[in-house]
Symmetry: C2
Subunit: 339 residues, 2 copies
DNA sequence: GTTAGCACTCACGAGTGCGGAGTGCCAGTG
DNA sequence: CACTGGCACTCCGCACTCGTGAGTGCTAAC
């Protein structure tokens, strides 16, 4: 009973603070929410909540502000996910349905997510590690330069240019291309390194330099670059909070320019729950100490393919963002499955 | 003589204002620059410059600030391009040399440009209109879905997925692929529409639906999407000027998320001079009224391929940015030519 | 054409005072 | 024992004042 009210107070504080971005006091709290008690009682609860570390006051005799821990409790225990309205759902579906290729799906998704959450959105390309090779192409661009194009079964296209020391023989290249196609076509990316182990044996000595460099490039493409691409959108939303945004947005913008950072933000989401929320210092990136990240995995069918999510200030609308991220992840998975 | 000093005064004002971001007064001016005259004289010149619209004062009895017109004159008449130091040049070369493919060149270029200018950088992909087709590939991903991959002679890869109403016949697809390859291979993008006019005639009636949709997609790819891609980097630099940045950075960030805007910023650069500078209201985009854009074209050999540039506040270091943009454009052209 | 002097303007910062929102504590009540 | 009303206290934020100084325009002299 008592515990219940404390939690209700925390919830009310978070809701008010998210709405106003201003420290919230006991009196305002009882006015806005109809908790059936007096401000004085609320103050006692607040004092307790502060002792436990869920809220804090910026300075003496100011209202209370939720701490990271407070948001954590709020997210874990209190907030029911509010489902999107059906017009919203229809809009998502229609918007994503009109995509023409994978790039387009990614770009549209990131825009959509940024727009409905009014936060910075991240969308990771389907990971290569779960994909298999649909086609591989080797094409000479000049006498010493060729391009390798790799097409996955879910429509992702990877390219690499290769610079050769010696002039490329068209015949040798055709030969390698044909045999490589047979060897890797339909194979999963994870099995490629093993397949390549014995691949170069079938070629005569004079072709070895070319075979070797092609092989190395392919190996590099299926290992090094796995999971690499993340698209980003809606950075303008960061500027929406004038000075209200904790500190400057510069370090945040800087961090968001690093693919590595984006991958870390998205990457380590747990697999058991559908949506992962990382609040403030819980983030694995230092510059993101004053932001929260909401991510979800999306997949084609049952297999997990990649993650997407949003980044915003810790005082974000968690319920809304969680719902949006979840819904968009669902739809993206569906779209990719359909195509 | 008199005119000369006026220009020198304008130059000094611009330089000081760019350095300090604070209105500059007559006394400070004679102290920092050794113009051989007294503050009073400078004041007369300032009054004249203000009448002509080159400078303005934020409020009565404050120092002067250059207007867009002032910057324009400064750029046109006064600033000598300061060449990059040779270590800088070497760094550029080395950094770009280690790129593995076109995507990589673009990403590295935008990072490099953002880093040396400390501004937002834009780099446009080589335009398709000047490219020709090196290879085209059609690959079935499922029974009703196929992917078209287009490879240009400068290593750019374009992809499109195609959804068919009826199941795709592998044999028909192979046939179309072979003939399409013969028809468009080596042809310039501009000539593709013409070539396609008579292309479908050689196929029997039952293959027409498939041929038609492939043809339409190819046509779409070589016309609609031409010039479309611009990469962006260094947005964090916008946040560097606290309140000093004219107004909020939000509209600027929003505008920079639109590919169309980026293309307009880059696109209309004049061809006769090597570098184009557009100052404040000279920009074709409303949200960019308080920013300046420095762009240059880069090309492989003599043919113009695309543009790159930087975006920053009007009070930017024009001489430095012009030099950097010019140098980077040169090196990118060289790298793309080499590969 | 240049300079020195002078009166004037006005943004800015420091200092002051006050109101109000908020708190903690304590004593009283069902 | 939990809740409430009351009270003293803190301290932020705002408005106001005022002195200072940088900067200007004008005029008269060189």
């Amino acid at each position: 009973m008592l515990e219940d009210r404390r939690l209700a107070v925390l919830r009310a504080i978070v809701e008010d603070y998210v709405a106003t971005h201003e420290p919230v006091g006991s009196k305002a709290l009882v006015e806005r929410h109809n908790l059936g008690v007096s401000p004085a009682t609320i103050r006692n609860d607040m004092a307790a909540l502060e002792d436990e570390g869920y809220i804090a006051q910026p300075h003496t005799s100011a209202g209370r502000v939720p701490t990271d821990l407070g948001y954590r409790l709020f997210v874990d225990r209190l907030s029911g996910v509010k489902p999107l309205s059906s017009p919203e759902r229809r809009a998502i579906q229609e918007f994503l349905d009109s995509s023409v290729d994978l790039d387009d799906v990614m770009v549209r998704t990131v825009r959509l997510l940024a727009q409905i959450t009014r936060q910075v959105a991240l969308v990771q390309y389907p990971t290569l590690s779960r994909s298999s090779v649909r086609h591989i192409e080797l094409i000479a661009l000049s006498t010493t330069r060729l391009i390798m194009v790799l097409i996955t079964d879910n429509g992702r296209v990877e390219q690499r240019t290769i610079e050769c020391a010696a002039p490329i023989s068209e015949i040798a290249l055709g030969d390698i291309r044909a045999r490589l196609l047979v060897a890797v076509s339909g194979q999963s990316f994870l099995s490629i390194p093993e397949i390549l182990l014995t691949f170069s044996g079938q070629f005569p000595a004079e072709m070895q330099p070319l075979v070797t460099i092609i092989q190395a490039t392919l190996l590099d493409a299926v290992t090094e670059r796995i999971d690499e691409r993340v698209v980003l959108g809606g950075t303008a939303h960061l500027a929406r909070y004038g000075d209200a945004f904790p500190l400057s947005i510069q370090p945040v913008l800087e961090a968001l320019e690093e693919q590595v950072v984006l991958l870390r933000l998205l990457g380590e989401s747990s697999t058991n729950t559908s949506v992962t929320v990382r609040i403030g210092h819980e983030n694995p990136v230092e510059a993101m100490e004053s932001t929260s990240v909401v991510t979800a995995r999306y997949g084609i069918g049952d297999s997990t393919v990649a993650s997407l999510g949003v980044v915003g200030p810790t005082h974000m609308d968690y319920a809304g963002n969680i719902a949006a991220v979840q819904a968009v992840a669902q739809y993206v998975g569906r779209i990719l499955g359909e195509q």
